[in-house]
Symmetry: C2
């Protein structure tokens, strides 16, 4: 066995889909891995909107990183650190943590992901929170549930508290809008004395001329029809120009005058901005960033001039290199992040063996978006049969089983299935808990971090 | 049917065990109820320590107040308000809410409960958080889980991060200490590379000479033996004189020199302080308060000179009036709060009928305290057979079924049972999620509250 000091040191930043997959793929490699994440859990982001809409408890979609990877830790090949990476020094091959500690590496995989972006209007953030972390989901859950409480208490402000705007008609926006309509029309119905929750308006605002722009146009149309059946008002061709405490202003295609929507609760599901570590990589290696701040990587997912650094997942502006045909951009979806994680791990092992790295090729198994109870659209690429398009109930059942299958941990799969069966039959959403922000962590704890 | 304006207006403050029970007991009464609570959920506090120790998700022990009481709301007899009562005006018969609104009443039931008290040392609060709300539980869960992460990252501070102090040997302190020992010795074992979580010390500090002082001495002894078997160090006769960021100082019975424990994580399970509404009631009615700030009530749970105001639950310094024998103090436990809630509702209806109110009599069914996996003590009062004392595994099974039985909602009972079965067989605690405090609620929402 080689001496532990001589094993190549691999640092992986971020334990989302990409970072977790890379870590697992290196389980049998003779390397010493340090996995660094800001949180202690891997989050199953595709179901985060269910936490934001009180359908699932947070632990059902999160798994402690240490627990998932306990075998690799016990084998003495993996150190997990709960820490935030502040900076990267490519010349010295070190990452710098929030407490100043420097962690040296021989190989670095950066999988720090993305957050929501406000197209340069960061002042909108406090009026229209986005949905990327569990803390975001709790904030949205509090806002949505409290809006109905405000409407019950304040007759003069009833209409504005019962209007909910969702900005962005991608998968997250469609899910949030559909589920909020379900809450208003079914879950809360009959639980208030002075308001009728069914009078709530849920308005989905999309700048392009159709929702779910990544899917074929006919699936967009079917998704919009299903949203409208659930009671969502869909406004396409409607570009948001301003967000404040009272609502949203937008420019409607083909209209002069701006359109104003009075809404006390606004959800941001529009823009994506890459992790600030993109800028850190640019500063230390000179690598190019795209407009969203993503790192433009080489065909093998490495950084030009720094083959020891790979960037994967939502932080990477990567291209897929099919065996025949032109390279195409890799979409920012979880299957792509996982495939990049496996690919980066394989290339790293090739480098260790002195073999050349291979270009990344994304395999597209299709797209899925859920809208609400019994409502979804799906486009599935089947190996021999070609493309299959589903919508409505069959698409929803398909979506449900795909998501349960990919959840981490048998217990979580079981619990989510029970929760959904329960919600399906009773229309109840069990996680309707408003918890006010706990007091900020005390200095006694922060001293040591 | 009488005109709605003429129905007696009943205001109930607080939806803990007492307030919820009073509201339910008035379901068929011809009164118009307004139930006011700071949160939107009824919390099953006896299992709060399980949320703080990552065994249960918050929604498993909380039920939305509106959902529990939806039938009374739909019947047009109940208004539920998410609001905080700031003050009570007994002369005008009004309660004043946080936004200045005044809610008039003909009858008032105050069930605002208690929080943890620091015996005048409020500066200890940030170093040693207590456990009364879900926000408290999240704060403790974050601190306990992060302490192990700090120990992994900072070799020089390993010992202080791996020492956990629990102050107070009542039921909450015993539960927290036993469960934290279980986490260190079983749950986290094998998940760290640089530390052995089994080396963690959990120290339970109690001022009196035995833990669980409300139980008979032999059960205290058995509880202490079970705690020690789980790996908890029990220090009785040890009065805490100082708490800071680095640990706890105490005066040990029969010793001159103070004792110092270096511990980065301290849990407060010692003092209880009544809700500030006790002082508000004193100010407006002149009623006496006891040393803990609880309202000294009449035998019928009313306030002297104000029979239209009743105080129940942990906020009341009440006495039980047995048919024969001397009055005895009512303990601050959930069965007592429920019985007071039912009694207050019955007395209110007696007043409406012009009948005299009856004195309160507490029926003691026994006491229960759990310590950890398969460890508990119980003293049960059986109707004909007399007192039964259990400890160890039988007491734990009994405790488990009693707690599941009293949980609100079939779904919660089912989920908690599944969670416990899962934790029992795997030693896993599924809710190990550290979520940093979300950003404070934005002004856009606060404007309207």
């Amino acid at each position: 066995m080689p001496d532990i000091a001589h094993r190549p040191r691999v640092v992986i930043v971020g334990c989302g889909f990409g970072g977790l997959e890379a870590t697992r793929a290196l389980a049998r490699a003779d390397v010493d891995i340090t996995l660094i994440d800001r949180t202690n859990h891997h989050l199953f982001q595709p179901l985060l909107y269910q936490v934001a809409t009180a359908g699932l408890a947070a632990p059902a979609i999160s798994a402690p990183i240490r627990h998932i990877l306990r075998r690799q830790i016990a084998a003495g090949r993996l150190t997990v650190l709960l820490a935030e990476v502040q900076d990267i020094d490519a010349a010295r091959r070190q990452v710098r943590l929030d407490d100043g500690t420097r962690v040296p590496y021989d190989h670095l995989i950066v999988a720090a992901g993305a957050t929501h972006g406000y197209f340069g209007h960061d002042e909108w953030a406090r009026h229209a929170p986005g949905l990327k972390t569990l803390a975001d989901a709790f904030e949205l859950r509090n806002r949505v549930l409290k809006a109905f409480e405000h409407a019950e208490r304040h007759p003069g402000q009833r209409e504005e508290w019962l209007t909910f705007a969702v900005i962005g008609g991608g998968p997250t926006g469609v899910e949030m809008a559909g589920t909020m309509a379900e809450i208003a029309h079914h879950t809360l119905h009959d639980e208030f004395r002075h308001i009728d929750s069914r009078q709530a308006r849920v308005v989905l605002i999309e700048g392009a001329d159709r929702v779910l722009g990544a899917l074929p146009p006919d699936l967009s149309r079917r998704a919009q029809a299903q949203l409208e059946r659930l009671g969502v008002e869909v406004r396409t061709g409607c570009r948001v120009t301003h967000v404040d405490a009272q609502g949203v202003t937008a420019q409607v295609q083909g209209q002069e005058a701006p359109w104003r929507l009075h809404a006390r609760t606004v959800v941001w599901a529009a823009g994506v901005a890459a992790s600030p570590l993109g800028r850190a990589l640019h500063a230390t290696t000179g690598v190019a960033l795209d407009r969203a701040g993503r790192v433009v990587v080489e065909p093998d997912l490495g950084i030009a001039g720094h083959p020891e650094i790979q960037v994967i997942g939502d932080l990477a502006a990567a291209k897929s290199h099919p065996r025949d045909g032109e390279p195409t951009p890799v979409p920012g979806v979880s299957p792509a992040a996982k495939q990049m994680g496996r690919h980066a791990a394989a290339n790293l092992q090739r480098r260790l063996r002195g073999e050349p790295a291979q270009p990344f090729r994304y395999v597209d198994y299709g797209s899925l978006a859920t809208i609400g109870r019994k409502a979804a659209v799906a486009q599935v690429e089947l190996p021999l049969l070609g493309e299959l398009r589903l919508s409505g109930y069959p698409a929803w059942v398909f979506w449900l089983f795909v998501h349960i299958y990919f959840l981490i941990g048998f217990r979580n799969r079981l619990m989510v299935l029970v929760d959904w069966a329960w919600a399906y039959w009773t229309f109840q959403r069990h996680a309707r808990v408003v918890v006010e922000a706990p007091p900020a962590a005390s200095p006694s704890q922060e001293d040591g971090s």
